[in-house]
Subunit: 380 residues, 4 copies
């Protein structure tokens, strides 16, 4: 493949057994805006090479470490070297490569949570703010068309003044100590050395937090949090709850749990205002339920002509042809590509390093609130 | 009508414009176990008489006050006087008639919340415990067959050890200051002199609280609550949130709101354990969703032969013939009738005065916690 | 409404083991417009007497046969004798009592299908047309508020010119030869001597047929039908399908089956026109889905202020308090009562003897079409 | 899978304004098994070149016609020329290129319906049967994991002997004469010279027909069809209904319509047997509802470990991460790739040329039955 318009991208992480690496690769292929040409797929040089072979990469560009990749790619001729890097490693290996690649002039798209501490996150914020590179954070759920529709409706005042926000993200896959079996996904996510201080908080709570701020346009200013590990041997939380106050006067709850046996990937957002409300459930992502104070409920569906422009722009198929998680993920990648190519005309088209910082602060705030048994002012 | 087996019942409240009085009357007629023969339907003698006439009562038994009714009925011959009384007044007129009728030897069925203070509630508890009369509290949602099925499943250990409880009751009808228009339902519910200290807390929060203890068989032992009035001129809360700890180790949230514009009567309960979970929504009451850790979800539906005996006993029609709110309400009345007649073989067939006390304590605890900004141990 | 205003009613059928008799009794009690004072509940005098006792009737008015009841009640003083009769027997005992009671001057409410032949049905039509009595047929599904809303919307041109109609009624309870076990409901419904020529066709097909004409206001003018007995020993159809042409130019299908294992009571109607469409499912009867050509779907819910008057008048509780099958049934009884008392101001408030004739013609037409393998013009 | 293992593929059709060409390209990119290297994207040489440029193709391989592409690619060195061709043109341009490319030794993946006549379809069947090339037909809905699960369940006897099949495909986008506006999708689909004799029948009816045979493993042996054009100026049907008999004794209906205003892409399949049934709706494709005669309903969800192997193999993400239309489409492409590479171990992994012939016969049979007003034996 040699589409001169394609952006040459490298990947950090995503080796054998990784779930999210494969997702990122499908997402970047979806709209044909990227060409994956390099990778440091694993901390094992052999595994990185093997993944490179599987993906059909030039063997010279399947690196043994992200440090090697950063150094080597920087030396390649401009028309050959990667333009961007995708970081899909466990949380503790976000900050290092992100900072290094940014400083070397590469665009970066990075998995969430941004870093394992707000201090490290602030370093990245500074690096992005001072540089020219595009930085995107894969809070992929913002890529769903109906989230964009909800956002336009709510931010545009369509449901009146926002009063209540209920955000939840319920999963069940960690109800048992799956990490004891060595299952790769459970293993690093429950190890504070790799996941950072948050377990469910970081893995899924940050998504719910991001989504509620993304849709409402309001910022959490105060929270009371409670975290818990229902699996006694687990070193990080597998459940969290928080009461929230938003800067527009709304209040609400955020629940994140990985011990709700039988629940798959239950990210749900509900927002109610003085005129109506919205409800969205990630497992049926093409549906946006809209409540009205004195009119019938609406079901807005993706890809229809009656949607706002922003929502319409995120669909690839006609109405009734369901698009899902991978398409939502791809929408973040494509917005990233458009920003790199200077095409992006959509405000806030993808989550930024600032959203990433807030996510890390959310983790830290819930933990602190929980430990101190008190409300915390959320960092501005 | 002259079914010698029918229980002669009187009603306190339920005059012109009352919503819940009419509901109680349909509920008591549904299974033909009661005959309404007397009433003090209004604090206005004229209105009480008018309602008596509408209902075809002997004019002599449409009383000007519950005090008159209590006195006069007590004087009637045993085979003629009422055997039970149904109290459907605003909250501040629960304790008085309940105590008086109990002391005079009448069975009592009373609307919730039990009283406007836990002190008064304890008086009723003592009266019931010391007497022989049957006392039922119309936490009518316990009358739904699928709540009974959920209860049996959860209490029987079917979903394992309970870890998480999410209870919510969302309505939207008070998003505006409806009480200013004189609308009768809004008027007394937002007046602390009649509703007691809780607004949404008492009106709907107690239902959610009752349901979660009813289904799980666990008791809330600690809570952190937050109440709020989104309508600034409102003298009681129209919104509340609480974090909960249960005596079996579970934690959870309870959200009650009457400012979620467009929501009708969204009482929903979700309980998750180590093996699976349940989800029930009052607006689709014949469906019980059951989640399993490693099996497909189930949809259990009312009136099917595969249900437990208790759930089956509460259906009047074959599967697929939806029964609703009025039937659930009637199930509480019929259990009350069976208890009066000594037929009841079902343990915990209806909510009791003890449930009522807990409900009032819930209201008070959330208010206190909210005001003191701290966790409270819930009364044992 | 006053107690002295209650209509004295008798019942034919509804003895021990009957399902629909009990339903009728709850329905007539629901709104307190009737008082059941007499009955010929069974062809066994003993059983009739026993049911009378259970219901608290005067033993003298629990008759051994409907003929006895008709004769005896006619002799009672006007202020004492029944005013109306409810006929809830198997199909072959509809025509006889209906005709006799009508001729004696009693109002009649009768279960469907009207009769076991169109010839007998025409006799009833003539008797009703020539008399002054009110005759109602319990196509109870017309009593649902959202069916009334659908009817107003569709007949009022809200969805444009109707093009397509899909009516279905799927059950599974007869997938096995349940009648061989002596189960009472299956026994008579599969016996042509009692059910008439149609099995599923009469039991449920007529409901679907009635509903589609009721909602669209169009009449079926031509049909191609196919009936079948999937249980080989069964003497009547347990499954039927028909292609339909309506007088307004619409076409569609009607499917009725009692061999769809696992389906409960799946009556569903969908109608599409040039501007939009409606979808209603009896198992979720408070929801009316409305499709629009170029607007979001609507979910209209019962008891809301945005509904048409007719739909609103059929609800007893506020929005979100589900009403179901029994309430829908009661709405037919209450409309019958209002017609008897001359209060009825709602056009077509309940199904009539003419609807009954059409239902019988539907059964006969599908059978004839199926046997002759050809389209049939439907009787005008 | 290796990069050098990517299959070089060319495309016929899919130029500017084409909907399905873009879908095919996303589908072939999804799993990285193909590399698009050539195309005859339009009958206009300029447009073909433009599309080639957009896609980053070598300009020499953006051909002015499929004939040119067939000739030129055949001349290229084996390691360079395309191995397979994807045909995404209007229906009348399926047979020509398919036959030619097959005869030249290329694998073919072709859109449905296979051809515009069964005579032409038989030529393709013969060509495929006599050759070594892999031929796949993009009845893409067979690529959904839950269709695969349904198929295994039903074919494996899980729901007992199949009795009833209800297949429907309802859309609304052609309720108006959209073709008069020149809208490209409507234009060719309503022109018999390009679509063939069937309108809705070919465009969507064949999908429903294929799916019901695919899932049940039974073949339609007799049908009675009725087609209609609700838009009077339309030269092909926009609505069709059929009564069906299957070789295993089941009967059912198939409804396909493009005039159901407000419906998006409502492909739905329901199959009932002696033990239970299944229900699947394309607009919620990750849900498979399973009914049981005497057990609770099940909701089986894609990507769960409790599913059969076949269904599991078709998911890319963990449970709860919705996959949709594009992923289902990609599953057909990937099965095609595996067959080309000899990896395929899954029986009936994709629809074949034989399925294509049956689809064309379905179109012709409904039309003939409709015109002759009689049942037709379906070709064996």
């Amino acid at each position: 493949m040699s589409n001169s318009g394609r952006i040459r991208i490298g990947m950090v992480g995503g080796g054998p057994g990784a779930f999210i690496g494969a997702v990122h690769r499908i997402a970047l292929r979806m709209d044909d805006r990227f060409e994956l040409v390099a990778g440091a797929f694993s901390s094992s040089a052999d595994k990185s090479a093997a993944t490179g072979r599987e993906l059909g990469l030039d063997p010279a560009r399947a690196y043994a470490s992200w440090q090697d990749m950063a150094a080597a790619e920087s030396e390649l001729p401009a028309e050959q070297r990667i333009e961007a890097v995708s970081i899909v490693t466990p949380n503790h290996v976000h900050h290092g490569p992100a900072l290094d690649f940014l400083r070397r002039g590469f665009h970066v798209i990075c998995d969430k949570p941004l870093t394992v501490s707000s201090e490290l996150a602030r370093e990245l914020v500074a690096a992005v703010d001072q540089g020219e590179q595009v930085f995107a954070l894969t809070h992929n759920y913002t890529g769903y068309p109906m989230i964009r529709e909800a956002r336009e409706l709510v931010r545009g005042g369509g449901i009146g003044t926002v009063l209540k926000v209920y955000a939840e993200y319920l999963q069940g896959w960690l109800v048992d100590p799956l990490e004891d079996s060595g299952q790769k996904q459970a293993d690093w996510r429950t190890d504070p050395a790799r996941s950072g201080p948050g377990g469910a908080l970081g893995d899924i709570g940050t998504h719910a937090f991001n989504l509620l701020e993304h849709v409402t346009g309001q910022r959490v200013v105060r929270l009371y949090g409670r975290k818990h590990s229902f699996v006694p041997t687990r070193a990080v939380d597998d459940d969290a709850m928080a009461l929230l106050e938003l800067d527009g006067g709304a209040t609400g709850t955020l629940c994140a749990s990985q011990v709700c046996a039988g629940r798959e990937n239950g990210l749900r957002l509900r927002v109610f205002g003085t005129l109506g409300g919205i409800e969205w459930d990630q497992e049926n992502p093409n549906d946006l339920h809209v409540y009205w104070k004195d009119k019938p409920r609406e079901l807005r569906r993706s890809s229809n002509g009656y949607l706002g422009e922003a929502a319409q722009s995120l669909g690839r198929t006609p109405a009734g042809h369901p698009e899902g998680y991978l398409e939502g993920f791809a929408n973040v990648y494509t917005a990233f590509a458009r920003a790199i190519r200077g095409e992006s005309d959509l405000d806030d088209a993808f989550p930024t390093v600032h959203d990433g910082l807030r996510g890390v602060q959310f983790i830290e705030s819930v933990i602190t609130s929980s430990e101190q048994d008190q409300w915390l002012d959320f960092p501005a």
